[in-house]
């Protein structure tokens, strides 16, 4: 539904999007993840026809965003980063306006508006002025406006920004439902959001896509050395025993508050948890904690977008970390 091919966007002073290629299929929710200024909003603005691309092309629902701009725009529901609405209007009035603006047929407007308000949990405030609502509600009003015409493609720029945790959970549920039968591209810099909502993640940094894959794929491919975390009661000499275990490459030990804690760095693919347990039993150590440290998506993200690292990941490799077998 969304096909972007070698898209670049140059502003007078900088290259905001640099040769980006990706696609989003129907029934798929793709997360656009990147630090501020990475080019997420610019890419979305090109997709929605707000900005013309400098080079490359983008198609939405089969329509080129430049040559068939009107058709492409009609197929998109767009929630801009600002989530701007007309504050002096009432909620239902605004969503009705958006429906008419999108060309929803006269008799269908009422039903569509009611449905959009329902989806975005706004039915209770339908008659309130938007200016009297909190940021979270305003955000949902803008979202309702974006999906009132039931577009096959949704482009959501930071849809959960400014919401409280309960609202975030509900809006994510809404987005998941919407994603079942349409293509959704959402940008965020909130990592748990990507984990919980998206089928696929594009990590973008300085205008280039530096990694792409499902959250699990990204984690596993970039996991690096597996690490165990363990703790024992009292002060016990664990270092030597642990270091001798097969698959263990290094051990860091520290003692605190009557506990001995260790980080056990393992060789790739090794999982010596059983051995650590048996070692503790054999020595009579009281094992209090034993866990595998999972590399979070956050770690992946930080690794990929940390600019001081000597080698940045090349853009044309789906997932690549220098010096890492992939």
């Amino acid at each position: 539904m969304i096909e972007v091919t070698s898209l670049s966007k140059r502003y007078p002073t900088r290259l905001a999007v640099d040769d980006v290629t990706f696609s989003v299929k129907r029934g798929e929710i793709v997360g656009f993840l990147g630090p501020n200024g990475a080019g997420k909003t610019t890419t979305m603005r090109v997709l929605t026809g707000f900005l013309p691309p400098t080079s490359g092309s983008a198609r939405v629902a089969g329509h080129d965003v430049v040559a068939e701009s009107m058709r492409a725009r009609a197929a998109i529901g767009y929630l801009p980063e600002s989530a701007a609405t007309y504050l002096e209007m009432r909620v239902a009035e605004y969503v009705t306006f958006r429906a008419r603006l999108e060309g929803v047929a006269g008799r269908a407007v009422r039903g569509r508006v009611a449905e959009a308000l329902d989806r975005c949990l706004l039915a209770d405030v339908a008659g309130r002025r938007i200016e009297s609502l909190s940021k979270g509600f305003r955000q949902r009003v803008a979202l309702a406006g974006a999906l009132v015409h039931q577009p096959p493609v949704l482009v959501l720029d930071e849809p959960t920004i400014g919401l409280d945790p309960v609202q975030i959970i509900k809006i994510r549920e809404t987005i998941r439902q919407l994603g079942r039968d349409r293509a959704v591209l959402l940008s965020t810099h909130i990592l748990p959001e990507v984990e919980s909502v998206c089928d696929r993640v594009l990590i973008i940094d300085r205008g280039r896509i530096v990694a792409e894959g499902t959250p699990a794929e990204l984690r596993s491919k970039l996991a690096g050395t597996p690490t165990l975390r363990a703790a024992w009661r009292g002060s016990v000499a664990v270092r030597e025993g642990l270091a001798k275990l097969p698959g263990v490459s290094a051990v860091e030990v520290e003692e605190s508050e009557g506990e001995t804690r260790a980080r056990i760095l393992c060789e790739p693919g090794a999982d010596p948890r059983d051995d650590v347990f048996r070692l503790a039993v054999a020595n009579g150590w009281v094992l209090r904690e034993l866990a595998r440290e999972a590399l979070s998506l956050e770690d992946v993200f930080v690794r990929l977008t940390r600019h001081d690292e000597a080698a940045a990941a090349p853009a044309d490799v789906a997932v690549a970390e220098p010096g890492e077998p992939s």
Binding site: T48, G49, L51, S82, M89, F97, R100, L101
Partner: protein
């Protein structure tokens, strides 16, 4: 068409949601009332040229000076506020063209401007009960008011498209309107070419003509082409200048 109506309707209603609109409406009613009392006084005088009273109504200096200040206030918000708040992005990513956005907003403003003049229709109806009123001349007077208003509002819409600062848009509108308003002052002079050029641009004379029931197609062409010119300019600016600096 439905999309255009959506924009016009929203814009028109937006005026009535702001307190400023009611201040302007009240001021206009007050001014119109003042004119009415003058007309009544004028008609009460013995031997008054009755057919001239419509000129009093449509070319009243106070009303037009007041209008000169009102137009920038009516138009400053139109596009500048959309740019500032970010709703311009919503409009321009909807399946509507820049021209439709500009024309829709302009028509909304024109609608409100005509509402300002609506009470004066009542005065004409009142007067008609007591004296003879040339309804043709009255109609042509309102055509003049609508044409002049459209021209001025188009200038304001254009100024509003240039910036996200409403005050700047208002000042710019005012700066363009002043010469448009006062060009007629330079009509005196001997050079006939200059006289005919300025006569073509002299809005006071035009309004007087309209009030006398003279509908000159040259005037209509002048105002309509001026309106179209500034609206197209505004649409072009929206198209080329989407990012807010």
């Amino acid at each position: 068409m439905r999309k255009l109506f959506a924009i016009v309707g929203r814009e028109w209603r937006a005026y009535f949601l702001s307190p400023l609109a009611y201040v302007i409406l009240t001021a206009y009613m007050f001014l119109n009332g003042l004119i009415f009392s003058r007309i009544v006084a004028f008609l009460s005088a013995p031997g008054a040229p009755r057919e001239r009273f419509l000129s009093l109504m449509f070319t009243n200096t106070y009303v037009w000076i007041f209008t000169l200040f009102i137009i920038p206030i009516l138009t400053m918000r139109l596009l500048a506020e959309e740019r500032r708040s970010g709703t311009l992005e919503v409009l321009l990513t909807s399946p509507v063209s820049e021209t439709m956005v500009v024309v829709g907003k302009f028509l909304g403003a024109l609608g409100f401007y005509l509402v300002l003049w609506a009470p004066s229709v009542l005065f004409i109806l009142f007067l008609r009960a007591k004296t003879s009123v040339d309804l043709g001349a009255a109609a042509s007077g309102y055509v003049g008011i609508a044409l002049l208003g459209a021209y001025f509002l188009a200038i304001g819409t254009f100024a509003s498209s240039l910036t996200k600062n409403q005050i700047l848009a208002a000042i710019l509108t005012f700066a363009i309107l002043i010469p448009v308003f006062s060009v007629g002052l330079f009509e005196s002079g001997s050079d006939p070419a200059r006289q005919s050029l300025i006569g073509y641009l002299n809005i006071w004379d035009h309004m007087d003509e309209f009030a006398r029931g003279v509908v000159d197609t040259r005037r209509i062409v002048y105002y309509l082409s001026g309106t179209a010119f500034f609206l197209l300019l505004a649409a072009t600016i929206l198209h080329s200048k989407k990012e807010t600096p």
